[in-house]
Structures are given as C-alpha cells and as structure tokens.
Amino acid sequence: MLKRNNGFFRKTFAIFMSDLSQRSVYIFLLIPLTLLLLYKEKGTVPPAVLSDGISQDFFRLFMGDYRIIPEMSYQPPFAWILLNAYIAFIVGGFPFGSMETAIITKFRSRVSWWISKCFSLLFIIALSHAAIFCTVVLTDISELKAAFFGFDKNSLAAILLPFAVSTACSFVQSLMNLYLKPVFGYVLVVSMQIASTFIHSPILFAGYSQLNRTVLSNPSGITLRLGFTVPAIITLLCMALGAFMSCCIEILGDRSRK
C-alpha cells in the first residue's frame, strides 16, 4: 500500500515539475502585476473588520464588485478581473502540456493520470496565490509578525477565499480543456468571471471570491461557510467528472489543443 502511494506521489511530483517548468515564468510575473495593482488600489478604504494591513491589502486586491447596494453605479473591478484572468492564463493548456503523450503512457490508467494532474493543478494555483501573498507581505513588511502569528478568522478568510474560488475556476477550466481547445476554456471561464462582477448569481460562482460581497464587508453578504463550501464542492465534482471523462478522451498530440 505504502509502495503504491509512493508511486502515486512520485508520478504526481513529476507531473507537477513538468507543469511548473512551463509556468514558472508566468507565476513569477504575478509579483510585478500584484505590485502594480496594489499601487493602483491604494486609494480604496479597507473595512474595519480586518485588523491587519496584509489582509486589508488582500481585500483591496480581491474586493471585486465595489457596489455595496445594487443601486450604486457599476465600476469594473480591474484588480480582481486582472488577477483572476491572469491565473486562468497560467492554467492555460492544462491538462495537455509538453511531454504529455510521453507522460501519460507511463501511467497504468487514465484515472490515475487525471488525479495526479488535479493535484498538480492545485499546487500550481497554490503557488500563484502564494506569489500574490508574498508580494503583499513584502510591501507591508511591518505586519510580518501578524502574518504568521496574529491572523484572525476574518483575515485568514480574506486570504484563503480567493484561493478556494480560484481553484474551483481552474478545475472547471481544466475539465473543459479535456474536450475544448484551451483558448475556448479560457474565454468561457474569464467571461464567467467578468459576468460575475456585475450579475449577482450563485451560478456565477467566481463571484464568491469578491470579498466585498461577503460578510467581511456586508453583514447580509455571502457567509464564509457558503463561500468555502461551494468552491470545494465544484472542485471535487470536477475531479470526479474529469476522472470519468479522461477515460473517453482521445489524445491526438501534445499542444494540439492550443
């Protein structure tokens, strides 16, 4: 059993290294993008519910829809849209990247390959958000102590909710890429994300990462439990559906779906 698990971790690690190698530059570029957006969003007043500067900066980046009430005029939340669209770009050609033909035939089954790809994707998204987090921490170095010892529930939620929703969006995108060309998967996911900034609908689940719509900003907003549960269910559903779909797909060439 242990040997079998080791095999799975080894394969997942190899897939992750391959996926990371193709995306490391783009993940690194998240740092200047975050810096730029932090500078642009400086004028926005943070909510009183977040006590430390780091989570307040996170809130600024992932605030999303500026409207507290629907009657207010719509202003596109550029920082939120750009960060989400950029992460969707990093996901890009998942699950078919370079060497995929050579990699997949080293697996015993298509399902185990898909599960490994899912974990690899999870790590890629985690790294992308870690790059954003580290940039925020570095711009607010005086709050470093708070970052590691003093985060309260709300601060943690402000940082982790965008990650949870981002993961769900990426899994949906990857699932679509099993059948569609990456560009179509990308356009569909980004369209859903943009639509979620001006339409309040639970179907447009990307909107759950707009922190201004949550209880952090508005007592009658989306609860944190709902905000985390919906993306978690979508992620698990995509994993299960992908495992089923991966058994039926035709692999007709590396990068052939770009």
Partner: protein
C-alpha cells in the same frame, strides 16, 4: 505479443482505422508503410492506448487495453514531433520523464543520449536544439527505459547519415533483446532494410 482484433476507429464520422487484425510478436521489427493520412500514426496511437476503439480491442501480453490497464506496461514512443520542456536540458528532460517510473537510472539516461548521438553533459536548453537534435532526444526518451514495445513514427526525420546509422543500431539492439518494434517511415527502401515484416496501410485498412 500484441494482438489487434477487429479494431475500428471512427473520428467525427470518418473511419480512420478499419477492422484491423494483427498479431505482432516479440523480437520482430514491423514496418508500417502507407501514404500520409493512411492511418499509420493512428494505429500507433491505438497500440499505445492514446485513442480508444470504436469497435474491437487490443490485447497486450494477455491484458486488454482499456480494461485493467489504459496503456501498455512497457512502451517507448516517438509519435510525430517530439515535445519537451523548452527551459530544460536534454538530460533534465529525460530525468523528469524517468522519475515517473524510476526504471531508468542516470546511467541509462546517459547511455540512451549517447546512443542517439547527443552529449549527456550538454548544458544547452531544449529550445536551442536543432530539429535533428530534437528528434534524437525523442528517440532517446523512447528507448531509455528499454521498453518491451518500441513505437517509432518517422524516427529518421531530420537525421543526418550518422543519426540514421545510430537508429539502425538501436533497432537491431531492441530486436535482439526481444522487444516488439513498430516503425513508420516514408522512405520505402529504408523501411524494407530496417523491418522484418512490412504492413501496408491504405485508407485505414491493412492491404495484403
């Protein structure tokens, strides 16, 4: 032993493989001959498990592809243009691939690179490789784990005379160690020279 039984593949209404029946033995080199689009590459993809049959099945050493296993247990493939990580060297690319199964040691990787005429210590990144070097790396990736089934689609593409001679030696080695080698090549003369048996494909069907 590879048994292909009544294998038919239809993609978007077109039959790309029609009722293929074949038995491929160990220690033999099979040459696939046919025009562009005749179905050679598709047949190779089918044997690798990369495409699923519309009808029929492929049995490899008693196990049917798509049932307990999705892919052959031991297969080395070079299909169409090889694709590797641009930012890695030849050795690192193969090392990453080898880490999945952990069958090939560093020594095996170096041996396979040397066998195709690449320098294992070359620090150049893959993106700097010439077409011929990329092809050689694709062949090295296919052979490094000393697979029981070796599938090479147009392995001589972009190779110089030395490269062609090295491929001949590699094929001879795998034949002697009992692997099943399946080869596609546009050069009819070269294919006849390299193969023990020629399988001719036309419009997705095998012709006598």
């Amino acid at each position: 032993m590879i048994e292909i039984i009544n294998y038919t593949k239809i993609i978007r209404g077109a039959s790309v493989l029609k009722n293929i029946n074949l038995k491929l033995s160990r220690g033999m080199i099979y040459g696939l001959s046919g025009k562009n689009g005749s179905g050679k590459t598709m047949l190779m993809r089918a044997i690798c498990g990369l495409i699923r049959p519309t009808e029929g099945k492929i049995i490899i050493d008693g196990e049917t592809l798509g049932e307990k296993i999705s892919f052959p247990k031991s297969v080395g493939i070079l299909i169409e243009n090889p694709d590797f990580l641009d930012s890695e060297t030849a050795f690192s690319n193969l090392k990453l691939l080898a880490s999945i199964k952990q069958i090939a040691t560093d020594g095996d990787i170096k041996d396979s690179l040397s066998a195709v005429g690449l320098d294992p210590g070359d620090k150049r990144k893959y993106r700097k490789f010439s077409l011929g070097m990329k092809q050689k790396l694709g062949i090295a990736a296919a052979i490094m784990e000393k697979p029981e089934i070796l599938i090479l689609d147009e392995p001589l593409n972009a190779l110089d005379q030395d490269g062609v001679e090295r491929v001949r030696q590699i094929l001879k080695y795998f034949k002697e160690r009992g692997s099943t080698v399946i080869l596609a090549c546009h050069d009819r003369e070269e294919l006849e020279l390299l193969s023990d048996e020629i399988i001719k494909i036309e419009s997705g069907a095998i012709v006598p």
